[in-house]
């Protein structure tokens, strides 16, 4: 009964553990793996195909670039936090609604 009720939770936990294990396995197999973003890999691929250096791809519309990786992670965390706030707020709102009616 418990198993049936929580089967999605159980599947999720197993999937997350499996995902981590897959990462550790990949990481141990590929000594040189950089785990760069696929966006970056894609851009290098374009540069390689066209024979034009990556630095030569100038923005068509000029763009602000985060000055460092740290600042970039901060802004990514901010993005996730905005999403998390909204999700948490709504689930709380629904929970309250359910309790009152």
């Amino acid at each position: 009964m418990m198993l049936r009720k929580y089967r999605l939770e159980i599947i999720s936990i197993i999937a997350v553990i499996g995902f981590c294990a897959l990462f550790l396995y990949t990481n141990s197999l590929m000594a040189g793996a950089e785990f760069a973003g696929s966006d970056t890999v894609g851009s290098s691929q374009i540069a390689e195909m066209t024979g034009k250096a990556e630095e030569d791809y100038q923005p068509l519309i000029s763009q602000w670039v985060p000055p460092s990786g740290e600042i970039e992670s901060a802004l990514f965390a901010l993005q996730a936090a905005i999403g998390g706030l909204i999700v948490g707020w709504v689930f709380g709102y629904w929970k309250g609604q359910k309790k009152n009616g």
Partner: protein
């Protein structure tokens, strides 16, 4: 799946903007209509949109030795359809191009087409196909989410292959290359995203099944049966 600013020739950047804009416009129109009809749809939009914000900010490692983001769009496509999803995606992509230099303003159209339109459209298509069948509701949501995620990256590969056909082998060999970079990396991420968002859907069913019934996300019997179990 972001195509970086400057990495798409001007004519392709313009072309994808032209494809994206009418879809976005239709999405805004639909969004207005849905919210006017039912104000209680707004919190649901907040949840599914919030997950697009969260998941598309996480860069996860994959089997190819590179990292990529899930998209989070499938659940929104199931609840609100692909056009409204494109509006939320446009906001996320604008944030990322202005503050993170992930994708740019000229390539925003080209990034919105995969993440906001084609991916959600594929996920929504699977969902529509299975919605009224006996296939389990959660399995339907899982497939829709995983498809939306995966086909986002297939579409990005297509866009790049169109813009940069290989000298030898042309479009096809270029497509294979880009699929290897984007789509292959995405497989495990699409699966894990599908599982996580299905769990989120379960909690929506448990807390606020009425809104799912009113928006006719699934037939009422299916939602009520799942609610009793949750």
């Amino acid at each position: 799946m972001h195509i970086m600013e400057g990495f798409l020739p001007l004519q392709w950047a313009v072309f994808w903007w032209v494809v994206a804009l009418p879809c976005l416009g239709y999405g805004i129109y639909q969004l207005k209509k849905v919210l006017e009809a039912d104000r209680e749809a707004l919190p649901l939009l907040g949840v599914v949109g919030g997950f697009i914000f969260i998941l598309s900010s996480l860069k996860l490692p994959s089997v190819t030795g590179s990292c990529s983001h899930p998209t989070g769009t499938g659940l929104s496509a199931v609840c609100f359809g692909p056009w409204i999803t494109s509006v939320v995606c446009a906001i996320v992509l604008l944030f990322q191009s202005l503050f993170l230099a992930h994708g740019g303003l000229s390539t925003l159209g080209a990034n919105l087409v995969p993440m906001g339109i084609v991916g959600p459209l594929m996920g929504w298509g699977i969902y529509r196909l299975l919605r009224n069948t006996t296939v389990n509701m959660y399995l339907t949501v899982f497939l829709a989410v995983a498809f939306a995620d995966f086909f986002t990256y297939v579409t990005t590969s297509l866009e790049l292959a169109l813009a940069y056909p290989a000298e030898v082998g042309g479009f096809v060999s270029s497509l294979v290359l880009f699929l290897g970079i984007f789509a292959l990396t995405q497989v495990p991420l699409a699966i894990i995203e599908g599982i996580i968002l299905t769990l989120v859907f379960k909690y929506i069913v448990a807390l606020k099944p009425d809104i799912l019934v009113r928006l006719k996300v699934f037939p009422e019997e299916k939602i009520r049966a799942a609610q009793r179990e949750a």
